[in-house]
């Protein structure tokens, strides 16, 4: 900013007007977002510190390799790329809405706010799908104590340790496994199998065959902190996206009702925009820490 545009006798720090030449509301939105950046920063740095302290961590590309509608596909980074581009695009439509607001073009603001809301909703839908996929997808695990179980990914369970544990260890643990678990193992690759009236010995025999053939994969447990950090941080971010969508819907309705035209300016759209871009900004780092590296 060139100093020549400011009258030389302006007493910026004497009160009554903003020394920063922006409204109180915008300054406070900036400072709120700065404090929020430190909250997110603390969460992500805590995660990174723990990860740095471990000899091995979860391979994100094994965890996030699914895509809706493509069952059994092994596509690392695909779905999260889609989510990232949805969010970048909704950031662009938001900044276009702010631009239309500067030009006092109500129809333009309405159009771009709707696109932004749609983008936010699409992102939340993607996240809901991803969470459901992790929370419901069960994986066979052999614990250190030699106990077999089927684990989903939750804040306290992490089935993403070693990909394949030693076959002989799995076969040794099969006779101790519950008939339900054995049936689930067999069903995963042989849907026609009828467990009705089949004895445990036969289930063990059947499962042993599948393990030997390499069709049933049994892994080990990963660090349990993975789930709490993943669901905690993406959940906190998702909550920001959700509140951003709610704020944007309110802004859309206020635009439609002509509140900003009556007021003579569209500054509220700018403030909502600051919040929305911040959500996109945080995603850049969530994407970096949980999916890319």
């Amino acid at each position: 900013m060139s100093a020549t545009t400011i009258p030389s006798n302006t007493k910026w720090w004497n009160g009554g007007r903003s020394p920063f030449n922006i409204s109180y509301g915008k300054v406070m939105m900036w400072y709120f977002l700065m404090s929020d950046a430190f909250t997110f920063g603390a969460f992500i740095i805590s995660y990174a510190t723990l990860r740095f302290s471990m000899n091995s961590w979860v391979d994100a590309n094994q965890v996030f390799n699914a895509f809706p509608g493509l069952h059994g596909a092994d596509l690392p980074l695909a779905f999260v790329s889609l989510m990232t581009f949805i969010l970048i695009f909704s950031s662009v439509t938001m900044v276009l809405a702010v631009h239309e607001g500067h030009n006092m073009n109500r129809k333009g603001v309405e159009k771009y706010m709707l696109w932004t809301i749609l983008g936010g909703a699409a992102f939340l839908g993607c996240q809901a799908w991803e969470w459901t996929h992790l929370l419901t997808g069960e994986h066979f695990i052999l614990s250190k104590e030699g106990v077999l179980s089927a684990l989903n990914t939750t804040p306290s369970h992490n089935p993403w340790g070693i990909d394949h544990v030693d076959k002989s260890a799995v076969i040794g643990a099969l006779p101790k496994a519950s008939p339900e678990l054995l049936t689930a193992m067999i069903h995963e690759h042989n849907h026609a199998f009828n467990a009705q009236g089949v004895g445990t010995a036969q289930l063990v025999e059947e499962a042993t065959k599948l393990v030997n053939a390499g069709t049933v994969h049994v892994g080990s447990q990963g660090p349990p902190a993975f789930g709490s950090y993943f669901f905690g941080i993406t959940g906190f971010h998702g909550f920001h996206v959700f509140s951003g969508v709610v704020i944007n819907i309110i802004m859309y309705l206020k635009t439609k009702l002509g509140h900003f035209d009556q007021r003579g300016h569209y500054e509220m759209i700018e403030k909502a925009g600051l919040y929305w871009h911040f959500v996109d900004l945080v995603w850049v780092f969530v994407f970096l820490c949980f999916y890319l590296v």
Binding site: M34, G41, M94, V95, L281, L288
Partner: protein, 148 residues
Amino acid sequence: MSSHSAVSSPEITLAPKHDNSGVKRIWQVFTLLSVVTIVELVMGYAMTKQAGWVEKSSALGMFFVGAICILSVAKAYYIVGVFMHLGGELKNFRLTIVTTLALFIWFIAAFLMDGNSWKNLKNTNAGSREAPKTEQIIPAAVDKNAKP
């Protein structure tokens, strides 16, 4: 500069500049962010087990990880500077934000080094003390033969 009064608050004494070059700039930044994201994804994909092109722990892998981090900061710079329009605010205001965020340099460095040190201590016995000798823990006063 648009013809209408752009003063949006009595606190503001200077009308912000508006012209239609803004839209062009927005799409430029969108293209830039998309290209940077694609570059990040290509480097990230190269390091996946599925692709298996680059080992993450190799020198090239380390370079990729560093490059992805720097590119992420570059994306943040453009989002904050252009989309959030911080680049267009007064310098003093920019400084109140940027200098505060500089705390992150310490925050990240200190904690990651701490995590790394924690790992090293766990892997070696560097941080452990010698276990005290058994004789030292048994209180001298306990004497089975002593009669009250």
